[in-house]
C-alpha cells in the first residue's frame, strides 16, 4: 500500500527520495555490499553496452510502434472501408460494436455536462478494465499517436541538443497535476470540454481518421517546442491523460520490473526514459528490494527494457510471469565467499560514481 501511495505521489510530481538504510531489505543490502567489492571499470561498461546493442534490435520499440500504428490504422480502415471493426476516434469508439470511451475524454465530458449516459458508462467501464489489466499509461506509449510523433521529434531534439542547437528546459513535474486540476475546474465552471480544445491526442486521432484540420498547427507547434526547448514537454509536464491513466495503472499487474542483482547502475535506462523519475530506483542504494515493480507513471514503453545491458529490467505480468529464483549469484554461498575475500583485499574501494 505504501508503495502504491509513493507511486501515486511520484505521478503527481513528488521527487523520488533516497531510502533510509533501515528501509533497504537485508538481501538488497547484501547485494549492495558485495557490489562494492566488484569494481566496474568504465571500459567494462562500454564493452557491455556495445555488446548488448550489437545484438539488441530494439525489440520492444518495434513491437510497440507496430501496435500503435496498427491500432490507429484500424480506425482509418474501419471508416474508409465502412467495416464495423473499430469505429469512432480515440476519444470514444466502438470495437466490433462494443462501446469504448477514453477515460480522460469521458471524464472531461462528465465534468462539463454533469451527466453520464449509459453508453458512456459502458465505454468507461470497458476501457477502465482494459487499462487496469494492461497497465494504465500503456495507453500513452502503445496507442497515443502524439506519443509516436513526440518520440521521433525527441530523437531530433537529442541530436540538436548534442550539438548545442537545442535546449532542454525542465519544469517542475508537479505542474502536470496543476494542469489536471485547472482543466477539471475549467470543464466544471465553463461547461466546455476545454482540454479537448488543445489535446493533441484527440486532434491527431481525428485528423488521421477524418482528414487534416487547422488544429494540426497546434500539434506542430507543440512538437517544435519539444524539439528546440524542452524534451517531451507535453507528455512530461502537461497532459492530463497521463495522470488519468497513471491512476488507473497503480495496481496494474502488467509492469516493468527491476532486478537489482546484475544491474551496473550505469543509467542507460534513465537516459532513454520518458519519465526517468520512475527509474531512479536503479541508482545505487535506491532500491529497497531485489525485485521492484516500476511506478504508475511508467508508460510501459519498453525503451529501458531494450536499453538495459544486463537484462535487469523486464516486463512482468504479476501471477503469470515466473522468474527462476536460483540464478541470484550474489546469494549463493560459494560466490559470497570469494567476493567477501575480494572485498577484504580492497577495503578502501569506494564507488562514488552514482550518487
Amino acid at each position: 500500500m505504501n508503495r502504491a501511495l509513493e507511486s501515486l505521489a511520484q505521478l503527481f510530481g513528488r521527487a523520488p527520495r533516497k531510502p533510509r538504510k533501515d528501509e533497504i531489505s537485508p538481501d538488497a543490502q547484501k547485494i549492495y555490499f558485495y557490489k562494492k567489492g566488484e569494481k566496474v571499470t568504465k571500459a567494462q561498461l562500454v564493452a557491455l553496452h556495445e555488446d548488448h546493442h550489437k545484438n539488441s534490435k530494439n525489440k520492444w520499440r518495434k513491437r510497440r510502434w507496430i501496435t500503435l500504428i496498427t491500432i490507429n490504422l484500424l480506425f482509418v480502415v474501419s471508416f474508409s472501408l465502412d467495416i464495423q471493426l473499430l469505429e469512432g476516434a480515440l476519444t470514444a469508439s466502438r470495437f466490433v460494436g462494443f462501446h469504448m470511451a477514453d477515460l480522460n475524454s469521458a471524464l472531461q465530458v462528465m465534468l462539463a455536462y454533469k451527466q453520464a449516459l449509459i453508453n458512456l458508462l459502458i465505454g468507461i467501464v470497458t476501457v477502465f478494465i482494459m487499462w487496469f489489466i494492461l497497465g494504465g499509461r500503456t495507453f500513452c506509449s502503445w496507442v497515443c499517436p502524439y506519443h509516436l510523433l513526440a518520440e521521433w521529434t525527441e530523437s531530433v531534439h537529442l541530436w540538436l541538443a548534442q550539438r548545442g542547437l537545442a535546449k532542454n528546459y525542465t519544469f517542475h513535474r508537479g505542474v502536470r497535476t496543476v494542469f489536471y486540476v485547472i482543466f477539471a475546474l475549467l470543464a466544471v465552471l465553463s461547461g466546455y470540454t476545454v482540454f479537448e480544445f488543445i489535446s493533441p491526442t484527440g486532434i491527431l486521432s481525428r485528423a488521421i481518421i477524418y482528414g487534416p484540420t487547422l488544429a494540426l498547427f497546434w500539434v506542430v507547434f507543440l512538437l517544435l517546442f519539444e524539439t528546440f526547448l524542452s524534451r517531451r514537454a507535453w507528455c512530461r509536464y502537461i497532459c492530463p491523460i497521463g495522470i488519468t491513466y497513471g491512476i488507473v495503472g497503480v495496481f496494474s499487474p502488467l509492469r516493468v520490473s527491476y532486478d537489482l542483482t546484475d544491474c551496473k547502475h550505469e543509467g542507460d535506462c534513465r537516459s532513454v526514459c520518458l519519465v526517468p523519475h520512475v527509474l531512479e530506483l536503479t541508482i545505487k542504494n535506491r532500491s529497497t528490494d531485489i525485485e521492484n515493480g516500476i511506478g504508475a507513471d511508467c508508460t510501459r514503453c519498453g525503451l529501458c527494457v531494450d536499453a538495459c545491458p544486463t537484462n535487469s529490467l523486464n516486463f512482468e505480468f504479476k501471477g503469470l510471469t515466473h522468474k527462476p529464483q536460483t540464478q541470484n549469484k550474489w546469494l549463493i554461498p560459494e560466490a559470497l565467499d570469494t567476493l567477501e575475500a575480494k572485498a577484504q583485499k580492497s577495503p578502501g574501494d569506494k564507488e562514488t560514481k552514482d550518487d
Partner: protein
C-alpha cells in the same frame, strides 16, 4: 536516426554531467574565499529550483491561455449558421457533452455529418451539417447518428425522422425562387460538378445516388417539395404504404407545399410554403437550383429554445 538513439544518449548525458561538474568547480574556485556567504545565500541548486518554478508558472499560464482561446471562435465562424445532426440537444449542452469521436460521421449513408475545426473554438471536433453541401435526407430511416452517439449529444429520445427538429426551413430569398418567378426547371438540380447524394426510393431504396445523376424536368419548379423527406413519407402514408413498413414513421403534419399566393398588389404566383411538420433537415436548401439557395434552414432562432420546446412542434406556419 533511431538506431543511434542509445549511442547518442550516453555522450550527451556524460557531457551534461561534465558541464555541471565544471560549473560546480568554477563556482567553488570563485567562492573559495567566501565560503560562508555561499552556504548562507541561495545555492546553485536552489537557484535552479527557483528558475524551474518560475518556468513552470509561465508554462501553466501559457498553456491555460491557449486552451481558453476556445472561448473566442473566429468572428466569421461564430455567425455561420450551423446545423447539428438530428437529435442534437441545445447548443450549449451539445458542446458540453460531445466527446468529439465522429461516430455519427462514420454511420451517415450520405456523408452529411462533418466535424468542425479549430476556427469554431470549443466547437473543435463536434459534428455539424452543411445543408447546402450535403443535407441529411434521412435515407438511413433509423437515425443512425443518434444510435451511434455515445454521450447523448444526439438525444436517444427520438427514433424517427419526423421527431427531429434540426432547424426550420425559411424562404429567405423569394426573389431567387424559380416557382415565385413562375419558372420551371430542367436538368441537374445543382449542375454537373455537384457531388451531393440523395436517396430516391423509386430508384434504390438502400443506396443514395448522386444528385447530378437524377435530372429533373418540371414546368413549375417544385424540387424542394418533391425532395422533402417528410413530404415523401407523408404521401406514402396517405397511400397506406408505410415507410419501412412502419406506421410510426408517418409524419403527423406536412412539411412543405407549393401554394398559389396572391400578393398585395394582386399578382398571383406559386410559392413554397413551409408547414409545421418541417424538421429542418436541409434537403430543400441542398436541392434548390437557384444560384444561391432561395430556401434555407434557419438554425439560430432554434438554439435559443430549451430542448423540450425544440422537439415540440410549434403551431403557426412560417414562410
Amino acid at each position: 536516426m533511431t538506431e543511434s538513439n542509445h549511442d547518442s544518449l550516453e555522450p550527451l548525458v556524460s557531457q551534461e554531467h561534465k558541464k555541471s561538474e565544471l560549473k560546480a568547480s568554477e563556482l567553488k574556485e570563485k567562492s573559495n574565499k567566501s565560503r560562508k556567504t555561499i552556504t548562507r545565500g541561495p545555492g546553485r541548486r536552489a537557484q535552479e529550483a527557483r528558475r524551474q518554478f518560475l518556468r513552470s508558472i509561465a508554462l501553466t499560464v501559457g498553456v491555460t491561455s491557449v486552451s481558453l482561446l476556445g472561448f473566442i471562435p473566429l468572428p466569421g465562424e461564430a455567425k455561420r449558421p450551423r446545423l447539428r445532426p438530428p437529435g442534437a440537444i441545445n447548443e450549449k449542452n451539445y458542446l458540453s457533452s460531445c466527446i468529439k469521436c465522429g461516430q455519427c460521421v462514420q454511420v451517415c449513408p450520405v456523408n452529411a455529418v462533418k466535424l468542425d475545426d479549430l476556427t469554431t473554438g470549443f466547437g473543435l471536433g463536434t459534428a455539424y451539417i452543411d445543408a447546402r453541401e450535403q443535407a441529411c435526407d434521412f435515407s438511413c430511416d433509423g437515425l443512425q447518428c443518434v444510435l451511434a452517439c455515445p454521450t447523448g449529444s444526439l438525444t436517444h429520445d427520438l427514433d424517427y425522422a419526423k421527431d427531429t427538429r434540426m432547424g426550420f426551413a425559411l424562404l429567405t430569398k423569394p426573389k431567387l425562387c424559380l416557382a415565385v418567378a413562375g419558372k420551371g426547371f430542367k436538368g441537374q438540380a445543382r449542375g454537373p460538378d455537384y457531388e451531393g447524394l440523395l436517396r430516391y426510393e423509386e430508384i434504390d431504396r438502400w443506396n443514395p445516388i448522386a444528385l447530378k445523376n437524377h435530372p429533373y424536368d418540371v414546368e413549375i419548379c417544385d424540387l424542394c417539395v418533391q425532395a422533402c423527406p417528410i413530404e415523401q413519407r407523408y404521401k406514402q402514408c396517405e397511400q397506406g404504404k408505410y415507410p419501412s413498413g412502419d406506421q410510426n414513421q408517418c409524419p403527423p403534419k406536412r412539411a412543405i407545399g407549393l401554394e398559389l399566393i396572391e400578393e398585395k398588389d394582386g399578382i398571383k404566383h406559386m410559392k413554397p410554403v413551409v408547414y409545421d411538420g418541417c424538421v429542418g433537415c436541409g434537403v430543400c436548401e441542398m436541392i434548390c437550383p437557384a444560384e444561391q439557395a432561395a430556401i434555407v434552414v434557419d438554425y439560430n432562432t432554434l438554439t435559443k429554445m430549451p430542448l423540450s420546446e425544440q422537439y415540440q412542434k410549434k403551431s403557426g406556419g412560417h414562410s
